[in-house]
Subunit: 217 residues, 2 copies
DNA sequence: CGACTCAGAATGAACACTCATTCATCGAAG
DNA sequence: CTTCGATGAATGAGTGTTCATTCTGAGTCG
């Protein structure tokens, strides 16, 4: 991995954004299946239905594909989350929506979620440079909702909002990982239902702890 | 990555277990620094102070090094955790100890923790085969403590003990990851102190939620 | 409308490089 | 001296990237 810019490369207007998008989506799929390092550029090309060399008309190199996933996709997540965080709703309702949003990502875009969480852990400086600030922004939005709840007295103040946000995200991510690792004799639908149920339980445990805590009958 | 056994290869008694151990420890360090894929066998050899070919006297191949880390080291963690889980102590005290144990792993052996958590996410079938059952056993021990608390009425029963265990682990892991990603202008000692404080806050939030929940003054 | 031209997109085999692994040779220990 | 461990350059496989060539689509002209 070498230092490079993730500036979009292809400037033509002829269906080019569609092809770039197609390559990105293909990359998400194959990265999620086998990981970044086990994925060849030719795998991405095949999945996208283009020639190997075509990748280089749109991206500088293989790293640039991954970096572009981070920039494009986390950027969009941040927009969605910003809308949810800014709603005029009770804070615990907003936390529940954030959990649903995260769960939706884990469910419907598990490939993207996996690409993000796996590659955030890679110690490459390049990824740190491009992935971490965006992801930190994502977490700060969650923390801002919790902080608002603290100011209004709904949530406890002895736990920092940043700690709570990170633990919330980590808890959900941990559930997704260990569900993926678990005994897989169930079909996808019942696994998703189980994950949804687990996320709901986790959400209520988390909110009770965050209230510090309402007695649960 | 191909199918292979992780059976120890070197049978001589002349300092060989020391060298094998030295290679494993070196591998943990360099894997944690740059990731498995960005680490060359020659990097491990250099870190261990042996020649490249020597690695193959002790391990089948590069994958085998990683698999051996999983088998040796998670095995030991499970022993320690089993002791903690089996103590005659209040269950919430035991959960606190588990958090400390996890935190100790995150602090003192952050390299090992990173190797484990990063590589558990790689979708390689080989790693799933060797890593996931051990790790699942680790999580089940945590869940057994929580289940005991549920049976005795200390902890709520509407949250499955497995969900709680996984979320606990995920929460801590998420804190460690995001602390590592965070603004790094502090020295290691104050970062560790911050992580310790965060883990403590997280532990109390988690326990309150698990009790479902004791009112926090 | 069809033929032609031109510019830019797409192709995929060749190329250059990397690195896991091997093995002939040397060194060390008993 | 013999046996076994250690060495590290050579080997071969794999893959990211390049670039000469072909293809495609839009515009122009008769």
């Amino acid at each position: 991995m070498n230092t490079h810019s993730s500036k979009p490369k292809h400037k033509s207007g002829r269906g080019s954004s569609d092809k770039r998008e197609r390559i990105l989506e293909a990359a998400i799929r194959v990265f999620a299946q086998g990981g970044f390092y086990a994925t060849r550029v030719s795998d991405i090309a095949k999945e996208a239905g283009v020639a190997d060399g075509t990748i280089y008309l749109y991206f500088e190199n293989k790293d640039d594909v991954l970096i572009s996933i981070f920039q494009d996709r986390i950027g969009k997540l941040i927009e969605v989350l910003r809308e949810v965080a800014g709603r005029d709703e009770p804070v615990d309702e907003r936390v529940r929506r954030i959990i649903e949003l995260q769960l939706g990502l884990l469910e419907g875009r598990r490939d993207l979620a996996e690409v993000i969480t796996v590659n955030l852990r890679q110690s490459s400086k390049l990824l740190k440079q491009y992935g971490a600030p965006l992801f930190t922004e994502y977490l700060e939005l969650i923390a801002s909702v919790i902080a608002e709840g603290q100011r209004s007295g709904v949530f406890r103040e002895d736990v920092s909002s940043r700690v709570a946000a990170r633990a919330l995200w980590g808890g959900l991510d941990g559930l997704a990982l260990t569900w993926a690792l678990g005994g897989g004799d169930k079909d996808d639908a019942s696994r998703d239902a189980a994950l949804k149920k687990a996320a709901h339980q986790w959400g209520e445990l988390f909110l009770d702890g965050l209230r510090g805590g309402t007695h649960h009958a």
